[in-house]
């Protein structure tokens, strides 16, 4: 094993590899409920070539490799299940914007914060889809887990906005995916050719290491505003979403429910975001939102609330800080959610289950559901808090989340960024031939099974 350590030092330099207990401890866990498992080495490559060399070494030594962004999935996706090498991508931080083509090429470790800052400073008329994870979340990792962000209602999953990939395959070759495979432009991840990006997005690093990623950028309007719609009837929410998304004018739609603070009790809060280049444009969109929901206003089943100008900064913040606040509701700083991508029509059933499980396991709950791609589906989070110093609350939260995942699947959803147990649940329900295809692809790309073992083990 010491040969591996020495070779890694040769590849990346001695400052960027460790087998010390501190690093192994840190890289062996994430903030969620999955049990920790330490890696043998942590390495931080700077270039694609270094990534290649590490992968070749891992193949030679039959050592596992887990590429890691910020490790914020909460579902243990970058916990090295059998040890090996955790490849922390954060030193790969190059950003290259094609302003005319409205896309950016980022290296594997670029964070959402870094890209946001870069765009605000240099290209203020362009923006990307910022998720509500902490700002250190990386663009690549977020795309790999099919993350969502502030443009998801309009543009789909953040992975739908990918416009090209550079991947180091599990066997060490570098491969370009999309228009960049035949051109110097990164405007498309596939079309008009076969879309091979699907071999890497959603695979949690089991099919290669994404070293560069093209991401579409979108017009950044001069103004944003947020409207707050409240209803107390869960069964109306699918129709409310349908009516709002029908306008094709809402930047983002997020539905929340929680028993606390008291103003949330017994009602559903919908944050509806709009953007515009002028006050007139914003006003028109506000009117469209009002008109879309006039029926429920007249029936007194729902209405828009005034939002204090002092509340707006926190509601408009990207990313939202509410998730972090929620994480400490039970004190002890723990929360995790099962976030199925669900049919919107099932919202009432999902809410009922969320509350049932909270009551059954005596947990504090919350849910934020984001509309995806103009209303084709939504991410519904079953979120429960726990105290990290209290194993009992952690166990109860874990059991509740397992039940939530089973329920979500039974009700037609598909689990988002599933942990190992949830991956098994998904694969058990998967069409057998699809599952076989999954296994074949993985075997083809990663014959030695070195990439993030344990994940998507289609056997």
């Amino acid at each position: 094993m010491s040969d591996i350590y020495a070779t890694l030092q040769e590849i990346v330099g001695k400052d960027y590899v460790s087998n010390q207990a501190e690093e192994r401890y840190f890289y062996g866990r994430d903030p969620g409920l999955m049990p920790p498992h330490e890696p043998d080495y942590v390495v931080m490559p700077r270039t694609t070539e270094e990534v290649q060399e590490i992968i070749r070494l891992a193949n030679k030594e039959k050592v596992a490799v887990v590429p890691k962004g910020a490790g914020l999935s909460l579902t243990g996706l970058v916990i090295p299940q059998i040890g090996g090498i955790v490849m922390d991508m954060k030193r790969m931080e190059g950003i290259e914007v094609n302003e005319a083509g409205r896309y950016v090429i980022v290296e594997g470790g670029v964070t959402h914060a870094a890209l946001k800052s870069h765009l605000q400073k240099n290209y203020p008329h362009l923006r990307h889809s910022i998720p509500d994870s902490p700002p250190i979340a990386t663009i690549v990792a977020n795309a790999v887990i099919h993350g969502q962000g502030r443009l998801t209602q309009q543009r789909g999953f953040n992975s739908d906005m990918v416009s090209g990939l550079e991947v180091v395959l599990p066997t060490g070759e570098v491969c370009r995916i999309g228009s960049c495979a035949v051109s110097s432009y990164w405007f498309s991840k596939g079309p008009p050719m076969p879309d091979l990006s699907g071999l890497f997005l959603g695979w949690f690093g089991t099919t290669g290491v994404i070293t560069r990623l093209g991401m579409k950028l979108y017009p950044c309007k001069k103004m944003r505003d947020v409207m707050l719609y409240i209803t107390d009837r869960a069964e109306l929410i699918p129709d409310i979403i349908r009516k709002l998304s029908h306008t094709e004018m809402m930047e983002d739609i997020v539905v929340s429910c929680a028993p606390l603070p008291l103003r949330f009790k017994g009602v559903f809060n919908m944050l509806v975001y709009i953007t515009g280049d002028s006050e007139e444009e914003l006003e028109f969109k506000r009117k469209m939102a009002w008109d879309a929901l006039r029926e429920y206003f007249e029936s007194r089943d729902g209405g828009f609330m005034g939002v204090s100008p002092y509340m707006k900064p926190s509601l408009l913040a990207m990313p939202s800080k509410d998730t972090t606040r929620f994480a400490d509701v039970s004190k002890g700083g723990g929360f995790e959610y099962s976030g199925p991508i669900a049919p919107i029509e099932k919202y009432p059933q999902y809410v009922k289950k969320l509350e049932e499980l909270a009551s059954k396991y005596n947990l504090f709950y919350s849910s934020a559901a984001r509309v995806i791609d103009g209303g084709h589906s939504m991410m519904f989070s079953f979120s429960y808090t726990f105290n990290r110093a209290d194993p009992d609350t952690m166990n109860r939260a874990k059991t509740a989340l397992d039940e939530a995942a089973e329920f979500a699947l039974d009700e037609g959803g598909v689990i988002w960024k599933p942990n190992l147990n949830e991956q098994r649940m998904v694969m058990e329900r998967m069409d057998p031939n699809t599952l076989k295809l999954l296994g074949k692809i993985k075997q083809l790309l990663d014959p030695n099974g070195i990439m993030n073992p344990g994940n998507w083990e289609a056997k």
């Binding site: 103004m223 107390d232 103003r263």
Partner: protein
């Protein structure tokens, strides 16, 4: 069971029907007003119960102090009429529910009430409050609850108000300076209308400001500015306090511009009209009010209620008129700075 002190005979004998004829938001001729009002009095359904904008003004218009608005609210609730969407009503009822958590300073017999409005923590500082700053109460337990007048929930007020009064008394308070105009209105209009006795003396903060400014008279530098006064809904419960506006303006050298929508003819902030009647009516009311201020040449818009401030501050700024709370205006006159300032534009683009 607390019951509204309402005298049917006063309405039966009333020729003017000012409560409805003067209404800014419903338009009745005198005969229709009389017919509709008698329906309300008799407990029948009336257009009034559905169209009322809940501006409180009829409390001021009634020359007999017969509490027409409180009766409207009672009748709306009896009939299950919802002025605002049901979930918004629920949200309001829940968010101000007493839960045993409150903040008190070093409370003395004379104390200030911040109601449940954090803005007063920002405003109540400096020389104007130097002899009382530490003696304050804040939180749901001291929340006046009058807001439920907008939501046809007199039952909530009847249920919670006695307890609120008890909570205040428990603090040993004998004299309560109400920084929220609506608290003063609750204690001096709503409570007596339901026969609730107060074990303390409420003092409107305008009276406190006026007295302090007189004490600090030598430090006053006249502001020599023209201001539009923004009269809020709860001022309608206590029109007897309106003279303090002019008294204070006189002390600090401020000219209250003559305009159409002031005094009895004032327009409200309309934010609860937006919630209950929709944006068209609210936008119209707000625009007329702002246009009126501009036309009158106002340099400042002076607010009494933090709720109105929140609703209107950004719109006032856009007109070029400077928004300011009454407390801050007084501070400016004695060389102190404005504490409650307009929010920075929240964009995050």
């Amino acid at each position: 069971m607390l019951e509204l002190k309402f005298d049917k005979t006063k309405c039966a004998d009333c020729k003017a029907v000012s409560c409805l004829v003067k209404c800014q938001y419903m338009h009745f001729d005198r005969d229709t007003a009389r017919t509709e009002w008698q329906k309300v009095v008799n407990g029948e359904d009336s257009q009034v119960l559905h169209d009322c904008a809940t501006c409180y003004s009829c409390e001021e218009y009634c020359p007999f102090g017969n509490h027409p608005f409180y009766l409207i609210v009672e009748r709306q609730e009896e009939k299950g009429i919802l002025p605002a969407p049901r979930p918004i009503t629920t949200m309001w009822i829940n968010q101000c529910q007493p839960i045993g958590r409150f903040t008190v300073g070093k409370v003395e017999e004379k104390a200030m009430s911040f109601c449940f409005l954090p803005q007063f923590g920002i405003l109540a500082g400096g020389k104007l409050f130097e002899d009382i700053a530490w003696s304050s109460i804040f939180g749901q337990e001291f929340f006046c609850n009058a807001v439920y007048l907008h939501f046809a929930r007199m039952s909530v007020i009847r249920d919670r108000l006695p307890k609120v009064i008890e909570n205040i008394a428990k603090q040993g308070i004998k004299e309560l300076v109400c920084l929220h105009d609506e608290c003063y209105g609750t204690f001096t209009s709503l409570a007596p209308a339901y026969g609730i006795e107060l074990p303390f003396k409420p003092v409107h903060y305008y009276e406190h400001l006026y007295d302090k400014l007189k004490e600090l008279k030598d430090e006053i530098q006249p502001l020599n500015v023209k201001v539009a006064y923004f009269r809020n809904c709860s001022a309608r419960l206590i029109p007897e306090t309106d003279h303090f506006v002019d008294d204070i303006f006189g002390l600090i050298g401020v000219d209250r511009v003559q305009r159409e929508y002031d005094h009895e003819n004032a327009l409200c902030c309309a934010e609860l009209i937006r919630v209950s009647k929709g944006p068209e009516m609210a936008d119209d009311v707000q625009k007329r009010n702002l246009d009126d201020m501009l036309k009158a040449g106002a340099e400042y818009c002076v607010f009494n209620c933090p709720g109105c401030w929140d609703s209107m501050v950004e719109k006032v700024v856009k007109t070029g008129i400077k928004p300011i709370h009454m407390i801050d205006l007084c501070k400016l006159a004695i060389g102190e700075e404005q504490a409650l300032t307009p929010p920075e534009p929240a964009l995050e683009v």
